[in-house]
């Protein structure tokens, strides 16, 4: 077990390093140098040279990559070209907004999706099961930014139940919560369907197992059988899938933050692309990639602890 964890963490670390090299190497693969992209066409050669030197672009490529890796390891993601603030500071000031959004979304999706999946599994092939099935697939397919747009149009613009833009006043929890409702709804809707289907499938699998038959044979009330012996096992795949889902949630957050003009990593990246604030874009993309790799690694490890068969799959 310990060996598996070491190997899996090692693989995660290797993936992060390769990802950084790819990300950073792209700057050089693409024609034109970053300094003139940032400064625009009217910059003087002196200005360009100065910025290139400041970004370390005048040194040979392997040296640049190595320096960059060391800097990243020390938590230094570079410097914002305009404000001269450290990129790491900017990214980490925006990250909590995105995390709050993601957590709110996945929480409500689980709160609805798990009972829905349970119900479907226990009433298999009834009309309600089939209808939830179709609606689930429909929800999974809907692009979340579209859900966000319609939610904004109906609940914020027409009905005026919820605020349309921003994240609420800092320090005012009630206002922040009100601002979170529509964005979290938009991201979570697809997950409701996904989780419902997942829980349904694993419930059906567990229901067919011997220990459930034994529990029933002992005359335990059905409620106890379901909650204590079936659901507890059936819920595990859901928990681990969410680890892998972080990447999709982060991607969805980009769109949602733009639709609702919320602060966060996604909004930061989009704004920085428009102003060609290159180091900030890369820093934010890097931070979210690391977050994603860490969460998939964690979910793999949790999975391996729960299910010994998986451990042998990593050569």
């Amino acid at each position: 077990m310990f060996l598996y964890i070491v190997k899996r963490v090692g693989l995660g670390a290797v993936i992060i390093v390769i990802a950084i090299v790819l990300l950073y190497g792209m700057i050089h693969l693409i024609p034109g140098d970053p300094a003139s992209i940032i400064l625009g066409p009217r910059a003087t050669p002196e200005l360009r040279a100065a910025l290139a030197a400041k970004m370390g672009l005048d040194k040979p490529f392997p040296v640049q990559i190595a320096t960059f890796l060391v800097d990243v390891a020390r938590g230094d993601l570079g410097t914002d070209v305009f404000s001269n603030r450290p990129v790491a500071e900017i990214v980490f000031s925006q990250l909590p907004h995105t995390l709050a959004l993601i957590i709110a979304a996945i929480t409500w999706a689980m709160a609805i999706g798990i009972p829905l999946g349970c119900y479907s599994a226990l009433h298999r092939n009834t009309m309600i099961d089939k209808i939830t099935g179709v609606i689930s697939v429909g929800c999974i397919t809907l692009p979340s930014f579209l859900v966000a747009l319609y939610a904004l149009l109906v609940f914020a613009v027409w009905l005026k139940w919820f605020p349309a833009i921003g994240a609420g006043r800092t320090g005012d929890l009630a206002s922040q919560a009100r601002h979170l409702v529509l964005p979290a709804f938009a991201i979570g809707l697809g997950w409701v369907g996904y989780i419902a289907r997942l829980v349904r499938a694993s419930m059906l699998e567990v229901l067919a197992e011997n220990h459930v038959r034994t529990a029933r044979a002992f005359g335990l009330p059905e409620r106890v059988v379901i909650f204590r012996y079936v659901l507890r096992l059936a819920i595990l795949p859901t928990v681990t899938v969410i680890g892998i889902g972080i990447g999709f949630l982060l991607s969805a957050a980009v769109f949602i933050e733009v639709v609702f003009a919320r602060p966060g990593i996604g909004k930061l990246i989009i704004d920085s692309i428009t102003t060609r604030n290159y180091p900030v874009v890369m820093g934010a993309v890097l931070a979210s990639t690391v977050l994603f790799v860490v969460s998939t690694t964690l979910s793999d490890i949790v999975n391996a602890i729960l299910d010994p068969r998986i451990r042998s799959s990593l050569r």
Binding site: I30, T141, L153, L250, S251, R276, V285, T289
Partner: protein, 291 residues
């Protein structure tokens, strides 16, 4: 994924599959939507009521009416015409990007499954790395570098989807490479290229095509999403995403743009999803568990 997949279907099998598709209400609804969308994209030039990029400031921000069934936008362009043309863009992106990813993934996956162990390991590590980027974030990093364009979107989708196809092909190849009929053929001196083309390819292509058909909704939503962020097609080219972005920018004046840009996107993704699920159930129920 163990078992070898479908053999190349003879005529009777195709007819049987069509009959089963017709019996599945969701599948046939999906097929109907897909046919309508594809036809309207192919015939777009003939059926648009107005020039989709012609501005007409005098008629701007008009509510839906008999003249403009879906209204006009802030530049007086006819929304219906833009929606129809946007469908063409969406399908173009899906066709080229999935086609590209499928071919490269097929080649790399067969190499990984059939080639030496070190190459297999290297390719798998590369696949895992590419998949470790959240797709949209990766796209944003690229767009930040090269600027937005349709070609950038297609390239990004190809790069990020190759690992998905590559992995499926690799597993299938590994599963059948040591079958006796292949060993026998190799013993008789058949070249590796012949084995790959004659035996492995037909076994792999079926599940791959089903996988591709289920990928289409995601790709269409991706194009619309990036265009919505202003990082996809360049104005004045119509895309469902840019129509939605125009609608959001003036949500209090032209909310019908959000409705008009969103409905076809919803219908198309649903149509392809239901059709894809139905095809998968008909041709290869085993795929359901593995993917």
């Amino acid at each position: 994924m163990t078992a070898a997949a479908i053999p190349p279907a003879p005529d009777g099998a195709i007819r049987g599959a069509l009959r089963r598709l017709a019996r599945d209400p969701l599948g046939s609804a999906g097929l109907a939507i897909v046919v309508v969308v594809v036809l309207s994209a192919l015939l777009a030039d003939l059926i648009v009521p107005y020039d989709p990029i012609a501005m007409n400031i005098r008629d701007r921000m008009q509510e839906p009416s008999l003249n403009h069934i879906l209204g006009t936008d802030q530049l007086g362009r006819d929304t219906l015409s833009r929606v129809i043309m946007g469908g063409r863009i969406a399908l173009e992106v899906a066709l080229f990007s999935i086609g590209g990813a499928l071919s490269v993934g097929l080649a790399l996956g067969m190499v990984a499954g059939f080639g030496p162990r070190w190459l297999d390991n290297a390719l798998i590590l590369l696949f895992d790395t590419v998949r470790s980027f959240p797709t949209v974030m990766f796209a944003l990093a690229i767009v930040a570098l090269v600027g937005p364009s349709l070609r950038t979107i297609i390239a990004v989708i190809i790069v990020t989807s190759i690992p998905i196809y590559g992995r499926v092909v690799r597993t299938q190849t590994l599963a059948i490479r040591n079958n006796e009929y292949i060993l026998a053929e190799r013993a008789m001196g058949a070249s590796m290229a012949r084995v790959l083309a004659v035996h492995i390819l037909p076994n792999v292509i079926g599940p791959l095509l089903i996988l591709a058909s289920m990928d289409i909704p995601g790709v269409i939503a991706f194009e619309a999403g990036l265009s919505f962020l202003g990082l996809g097609v360049k104005p004045p080219t119509p895309s469902w995403g840019t129509i939605l972005a125009d609608g959001l920018a003036l949500v209090r004046n032209t909310p019908w743009l959000i409705v008009a840009g969103g409905i076809p996107l919803i219908l198309t993704t649903l149509g392809f999803t239901f059709l894809g699920e139905s095809l998968r159930d008909i041709f290869d129920p085993k795929l359901r568990k593995d993917l």
